[in-house]
Subunit: 224 residues, 4 copies
């Protein structure tokens, strides 16, 4: 999995702070833009603490994500307040077996070997179908959920906060959870105020809506 921010709203904390300040001020935008950073950041922090998250929608982040499975992207694109451009299996021919192995399978020598053999077998059939004149969009029906894909994703900060709540959680599927934590690591460097308290609900809200006692994070929450 490779996750990189390839573009983002410059100085996202500042833009969102200006928007927050404008709503409760007589001042014109150009005057608000001249406020010092300390004033602006304290306004932004207060507004986020109150849960008034619409102001952070003004900041967007574009990620280039590669080497993730189609199992992951089928989940990812369910997040509707976002923009996606994905490598198309209808038009792009992937001759070589390129796939993600779940850790639970990889750590078992025998299962791993069988998994890899099956992947090779699948791609042989895929290539054979193409040779026989079957179009890519039909040959791909044999390709597995494990098949690697590339995708460019843009989300605004509010949608990202929601994404992190759902996908950084221990109940999220391991591959999309890894993606979520890596995305969070990246955005935090760029917008430290906006994402200061981002993460799963046990971190952000102090409680677990899933109410699953077996979660290893659950007790930490309780002691807070």
């Amino acid at each position: 999995m490779d996750v990189r921010i390839i573009s983002h709203t410059p100085d996202p904390d500042r833009v969102c702070a200006i928007a927050a300040a404008l709503t409760h001020s007589k001042k014109k935008p150009e005057e608000i833009e001249r406020l010092d950073d300390e004033t602006l950041m304290s306004i932004l922090s207060r507004v986020i603490d109150l849960g008034h998250l619409s102001v952070v929608e003004h900041a967007s982040f574009t990620f280039a994500i590669s080497g993730v499975s189609r199992a992951l992207t089928h989940q990812l694109v369910r997040h509707r307040i976002a923009s996606y451009s994905q490598q198309s299996q209808r038009y792009v021919r992937i001759e070589d077996a390129r796939y993600v192995i779940p850790p639970s399978i990889e750590r078992n020598e025998g299962l791993r070997k069988d998994f890899e053999e099956l992947m090779e077998r699948i791609w042989r059939e895929y290539n054979r179908l193409l040779e026989k004149g079957i179009p890519e969009e039909d040959a791909r029906y044999v390709l597995p959920n494990a098949a690697k894909t590339n995708i460019i994703v843009t989300m605004n900060a509010r949608s990202l906060l929601n994404f992190f709540e759902l996908r950084c959680c221990m109940h999220a599927q391991w591959e999309i959870r890894e993606l979520a934590w890596r995305m969070l690591g990246e955005v935090r460097k760029i917008a430290p105020i906006i994402f200061k308290k981002a993460g799963p609900p046990c971190k952000t809200k102090g409680f677990c809506p899933e109410k699953k006692e077996e979660c290893p994070w659950y007790p930490k929450r309780d002691r807070t």
Copy 2:
């Protein structure tokens, strides 16, 4: 593929017509609701002809779709102005090989046999992984795009009109195109005014934005 409407806004043409009438009228809603059907339908037709489609958002349709491939649903859920509830491969164990065969493969005896054998081989491995204690959410990495799934979809009429423009088109992938035409057949029975001119752009707009000369429908458009 099985496609059925399991719920919808009752009398959708009428509800949207009332909304259309309200915007340009002094009358209160209860007076507009008493207008006769002929008046209301003529208002709705005129508004739709002008391309003012926001009024048809007041009508929603819920489809139960089963026996379609995960290749299809990965495309389907890219339509963001819609609501989805899909059978989860993370939690539901699908022991038997249940899959969609593309017609281009099915019509070739040899390719079809190999395809079926590969599917059986994949599901054997899937079941073996489960027996070895691998969770469903990881075992599913071997499952193919062809794997069948069930999904419940709700879209409002405006989002459906857009869906039909994109997916009834000859350039759409065959499986989602079949779904789109079947959905269109169903909604037309219930909302004949709203969906009177629904379909691909060559039907609705009289031109092909894809500009692909090789389309078999393209000449028909020209002669209109």
Copy 3:
């Protein structure tokens, strides 16, 4: 203010319950639809309790709202996951002074009288502008926030739950709060399971994100 549901997904609790059941079941949609009401409603309740609210998006409600101020509708239409058809001040000529008086003004005899006189004065000018040939869309610039308007609104149940959290709250503006409580009263009759715990966060979540000590509801929350 007049608030009426003029259309809705029939049997909304049931449709959402079917969607919830489908996601975790091997069963085909038609089998799930045959499940008895008790089973379905218990599935729906559990899913809502866990905060998995996407399933309630399958139910939509259409409200005819009349006699509310343009101050209210300017706030209302900020809710983006919704569909609106509003009486247009650009095209509809409102000759008579029709307006909402805030209770804080109405209860003071002197202020009320002055308010009413100003309204009459405004509408005289509005009608005069029209007589002089000024188009409706320009004459309306003199009309006040208090001017009454009619609007038809469709929201799905998930968007409504969010609307109620924000607008049933004591910190919401009084007019939209009245609207929100009346809408909640209506939908609860039709979808008792979905809206069982709907309302402001102090009711639904057991805490106040606004953290305002002066709220009369706040202590009740604390004692829970």
Copy 4:
């Protein structure tokens, strides 16, 4: 009216071009990012010409807009694929009469004078209500549609293209049309490829969906 871009995706044409290229390429994102500008821009132009506009969603623009009427913003915020932070009349006290005069009124000496007098009268009453202890959120009920407001708006390029189609049109209301053309002027400097053909449908599509013969632009379209 003052319209300024205060933030935007850096190099928006390039980011969208990378997204467009990725969908039909075997290459990894980092390889696509190394493509030269000419190649990327030709891919982007082709994709936009085909009407595949999802790729331009990756670019966002944030505008600070001040000195527009509340009549305008009530229309503006109806565009739902956008983010807004507006100066609140509930919390911000606007002591001085600050308002927009429609040109049709301004150019008539007598009407203009009466309009201005009415505005002064309205603000006197507004200030008097505040003095009497009426809260801002209630006193504002007397304020007119003409009252000036400030708003920060973020839209992605796809949503902007749609906004321009609707609001640059001669049938749009004059104030929001002026805003739309000024926003278009700004974004074109920053993203010349994306917005090359932006504007009303008679410019972008070569026909008028409104079918109104009296439009002064209409004949130009016909001669094209």
